[in-house]
């Protein structure tokens, strides 16, 4: 076979591999005209490949008998075997039959182990463990018959994001009870993960595959590889992309480093599971399996406190205990762990259980009932799809899952869509936007309610179909309305619409004098809270209707200022600052106006049109005044912490404050949240930043700024494929924005895809009007060409900046970055020294900003990094 023959053969082989074995011959006959090549291909395809995950036909057909069981249907295939639905004709009950793969039947020791462990598992009888009925061998096929469970796996439940805290408590305790019972008999699971936990339709949590995991680390890794998360049809070749990441992530440090795993290893895995249920993300996840294992051994997951508020301290302690790196530091017995979980008290306020899972254990106090919440009607049982589950590395073949609990969910999320300005006066535009923003801010004080953020809902301004908007946003209900001003009179209407049904849950009209604007806003907010039956804590009841000012004039000036700030421009910002100052003249105690005024000043530093000393001083004055008025205000605290971080370089002090603030739902709404993520990024902890952005995206999925930050952080965390996916998705929806393309180009270059990188960068230059760069790249082929174009563009920009500097202030850091990029080392350091002296905003990113890469190895650079105190 010559080279080009082989390329052809390869392509046909790869295609054939995707087909069921029976169809391969016909495929080759149809597609390969060359008789010699055809013969070779058929020969190759007929080889029972020893290096193979290629699953041929299944071992058994419906109607076959396996011992007393009649095969009904093949449910799935995995690396170790197959799972069938079977029927026990004697008892008339359905069972799940796990059959050891015919490929492995030849391995006598493996078969023995399979049986021995299945027998051990069959000794377990506990409501939290899937019961093994019977083990046997028929015509050389080893099988295990198990309890048939209807429901879905924890993995599938987690696909919708984190679970309510109380629900997590119930699930964790049921798993711990099952583990404790097994550990008491000396049986260790060793492969506990969300695919191995079944959420039965009756609300019970059941652990699967007890004792079936092989003893050694190597063994469980082998299973893990086959244990694909993707759903594959029985005849399809199991796809293995990314699978190992999914499953090694639940191993204990002792398993990950190849040491013996005892019962305390299961405790660790339960800790990882519980973490994921609360956080909605894996505790340990890295680009390669090896690095995930390394993280399990050496690193600590992103603190749960950073990710979610309202988790009882006792539960946090238990998880920390489970996740201890050395087994001796975990629980002495799993019975103790289960008891600790049972004694956790869950608050009744913010995170009330919404009835997704009933706790069948009678000795538990009932979750706080929430009567009167809006519940969907419960459909008949027939809607449930009876399913069986993943077993040893079994990909499920069944589609159409019963959506657990979807039938009984209360509305937990709303989007306030921009109020429409129906007056003729375009000047009144600020009113609609202002009312919308104020309602968002007000509603987001209720921690049990997810309120979509401004940046996202404003993308739906002027939408004709609110139900469709709500569907796209994935919320339970939307608030829509109109506002019109006629002289000193206001006409406002508002409605609450349920998305699933389109039903108007509430609506009202208000004709009031203009000075009543805030009253109307209060009426709307409290009516909606009532209608949704939100469980409000005392604190929330007090703050829901709190206002920054009682002066209607000050409020109006504030709304106008906010309206101007929606777009960044120097003139707009100057005007906004004037409006906030006027508002403060009317009411000097108006904290919100002070915070906004401070942020205009800070922005003047950030955008580089005011010298930092000047901008920071003014911002600082306002923040101090605001703090004197209301030191506990989260916006004030966040503004202060940002300043301490970016200007004072107080890394240690800021960490505490940021960690504390990061779970406040009010911050998630706006830009105050971003410095927290940037802080962790600047320190070189991009995983923390990713976790924070995941949360921000939940309420603000349409915010381009947040989406780009997310992609940047993923790239920094080394998760190149994820970053590429994010950049591409942004570039698709924001076709005129060059930023995702700049990011994409860098990541593609790092991945070695020079052509892709060149294309992306060229498009980015075109979009930003950098024609010189685009031209240079049109003939670029190599990484060197790419870099040369970058340098040429930086040189152009340097020239422009020098011209601009003749007219107004330009941040020395902007100069420094460009000098560094063109390789003018000495100039770059001169600029850096100036930046250091005036504490330019952006020095805190020195460690992570790629613009400095060319001078990073210089000892002077290291010294500057040290001066900024970057940990």
């Amino acid at each position: 076979m010559n080279r080009s023959d082989w390329e052809r053969a390869k392509s046909l082989l790869a295609d054939a591999a995707d087909l069921p074995e029976a169809d391969r011959e016909r495929f080759v006959l149809e597609r390969c005209p060359d008789p010699e090549l055809r013969r070779e291909l058929l020969d190759l395809l007929s080889t029972p490949a020893p290096l193979s995950s290629i699953v041929g036909g299944s071992a058994l057909k419906p109607g076959d008998l396996l011992g007393p069981y009649k095969i009904q249907a093949l449910l799935g295939i995995g690396g170790m075997g197959e799972v069938y639905r079977g029927r026990d004709s004697r008892l008339g009950r359905d069972v799940a039959l796990k059959v050891i793969s015919p490929r492995l039947v030849g391995d006598a020791s493996l078969r023995h182990r399979f049986e021995r462990e299945a027998r051990a598992a069959s000794a377990l009888n506990h409501p939290s463990i899937v019961t093994v009925y019977d083990v046997g061998e028929t015509d050389g096929i080893s099988w295990i018959a198990m309890e048939w469970v209807e429901g879905r796996t924890l993995r599938q439940l987690l696909a919708n994001g984190p679970l309510p805290i109380h629900e997590v408590g119930v699930i964790a305790r049921q798993i711990a009870d099952g583990l404790a019972a097994a550990h008491a008999k000396g049986i260790v699971h060793r492969d506990l993960k969300p695919d191995n936990v079944m959420m039965a339709a009756d609300g019970r949590t059941k652990i699967l595959d007890f004792g079936l995991a092989r003893h050694s680390w190597a063994g469980s890794l082998g299973d893990a590889v086959a244990d694909d998360e993707t759903v594959a049809a029985p005849t399809a070749v199991a796809s293995l992309e990314g699978t190992i990441l999914g499953t090694v992530g639940y191993m204990s440090p002792e398993q990950a480093s190849g040491r013996t795993a005892d019962f305390r290893s299961d405790q660790f895995s339960l800790g990882v599971l519980t973490y994921e249920m609360l956080a909605g993300r894996r505790a340990f996840t890295r680009p390669t399996a090896v690095e995930t294992l390394s993280a399990i051994i050496r690193e600590h997951p992103v603190p749960l406190r950073l990710i979610r508020s309202g988790i009882p301290d006792a539960l946090l302690d238990i998880i920390a205990h489970c996740l201890a790196k050395t087994p001796d530091e975990r629980f002495a017995s799993t019975r103790d762990l289960a008891a600790a979980l049972a004694s956790v008290e869950y608050g009744t306020g913010a995170e009330t259980n919404v009835g997704r899972i009933q706790d069948p254990i009678p000795d538990t106090p009932d979750p706080t009932p929430t009567p009167g919440r809006i519940l969907y009607p419960t459909p008949a049982m027939g809607r449930r799809t009876v399913v069986w589950l993943l077993a040893i590395g079994v990909a499920l073949a069944t589609a159409g899952w019963y959506r657990f609990g979807a039938s009984r969910r209360a509305i937990e999320s709303v989007a306030v869509l921009p109020f429409e300005n129906t007056s003729k006066d375009p000047e009144a535009e600020y009113l609609g936007d202002g009312l919308t923003e104020s309602l968002i801010a007000q509603m987001s004080r209720v921690s049990s309610l997810k309120v979509m953020a401004r940046g996202t809902v404003f993308r739906f301004k002027g939408t004709a179909d609110p139900q469709e908007a709500g569907r796209k946003l994935g919320v339970g209900a939307v608030v829509v309305g109109t506002v019109a001003r006629r002289g000193s009179q206001l006409a406002i209407s508002a409605e609450l619409i349920e998305i699933s049904t389109g039903i108007r849950l509430w609506g009202d009209k208000y004709d009031r004098p203009f000075v009543d604007l805030q009253r109307v806003q209060d009426l709307i907010a409290s009516d909606i809270a009532d209608r949704l039956q939100l469980p409000l804590s005392g604190q929330e009841k007090r703050t829901l209707l709190a206002h920054g000012t009682e002066s209607p004039e000050a409020h109006e000036l504030f709304l106008k200022g906010r309206f101007l700030m929606a777009n960044v421009s120097e003139e707009g910002d100057l005007e906004a600052a004037r409006l906030f100052q006027q508002a403060l003249e009317k009411d000097p105690k108006y904290v919100d106006a002070r915070v906004e005024l401070a942020s205009v000043y800070a922005r003047s530093v950030g955008e580089g049109y005011a010298p930092p000393a000047e901008g920071w001083r003014r911002a600082d004055e306002e923040i101090q005044k605001a703090a004197a008025l209301d030191p506990a205000n989260v916006l004030v605290r966040a503004a202060r912490a940002s300043r301490r971080f970016q200007f004072e370089w107080d890394w240690a002090g800021t960490e505490r404050e940021f960690t504390d603030l990061s779970t406040d739902p009010r911050l998630l709404q706006g830009n105050q949240f971003h410095p927290i993520a940037l802080y962790f990024w600047a320190r070189g902890q991009p995983e923390e930043s990713v976790a924070l952005m995941e949360r921000a995206l939940r309420v603000d999925p349409g915010n381009v700024e947040v989406r780009i930050m997310m992609a940047d952080f993923l790239a920094h965390a080394g998760r190149l494929e994820d970053a590429i996916g994010h950049y591409r998705a942004i570039a698709e929806t924001e076709s005129s924005n060059s930023r995702p393309l700049f990011g994409l180009a860098e990541v593609l270059k790092r991945r070695g895809d020079v052509k892709g990188a060149v294309d992306a960068l060229r498009k980015a230059y075109e979009l930003s009007g950098l024609e010189h760069g685009a031209r240079l790249l049109s003939a670029a082929r190599t990484e060197k060409d790419y870099e040369n174009a970058q340098i040429a563009v930086a040189r152009d920009q340097l020239g422009e900046l020098q011209d601009l500097a003749k007219e107004r202030y330009v941040s020395p850091l902007d100069f420094g970055r460009l000098y560094a990029q063109v390789g003018e080392r000495e100039q770059a350091f001169t600029s850096l020294e100036v930046a250091l002296a005036e504490r330019s905003l952006g020095l805190v990113w020195l460690k992570v900003d790629r613009a400095w890469d060319r001078i990073r190895d210089d000892p002077r650079f290291t010294a500057i990094v040290r001066q900024v105190g970057i940990p």
Binding site: D18, P48, A49, A218, G222, A226, G242, T243
Partner: protein, 188 residues
Amino acid sequence: MPGDGLTALLGRCRAGTPADQERLLTAAQGELRRIAGAYMRRERQDHTLQPTALVNEAYLRLFKEQDVAWENRAHFFGIAARVMRQILVDHARKRRAQKRGVGRRADGSLSKLADPISGHDIDALALHEALNDLALFDPRQAEIVELRYFGGLTEAEVATIKGLSPATVRREVAAARFWLGRRLQADR
């Protein structure tokens, strides 16, 4: 510490003089061999070597620092796969020689390599020889298979490291399996 020197070497290798590359390979080899030796001496229940286990341990020792640049990791996995292959092949040869010579049974744990997909044992020496043949007419495919089996990487990881799309890697591995399968069968 051999580990410290290695990290520095890896750093220099980004600039990439051939002499640095050479020294890096030697140093990584030393460390990997030491770890493999320790694995062989350790009493283990499973008598099959998982390359991932070794590569993992080597990785942990060599990269003590938090941020290992991505280029270095790619580099490392390439080297690790190559070294692992050498270790396994040397061991298998020695074992074969011992069997022929004294008839004494060697520990055997390293001559077999677990197929990360099926969990099935495959003969490291036979795979090595087959791969040499494959490399003659399709070096890229041989390299992918080397990373997959001797480096213990998943297809997605190989794709990341080689800068290929996961689909390409999947197709290359699928085709290679048939060819290697035929070749290994013919050896028996």
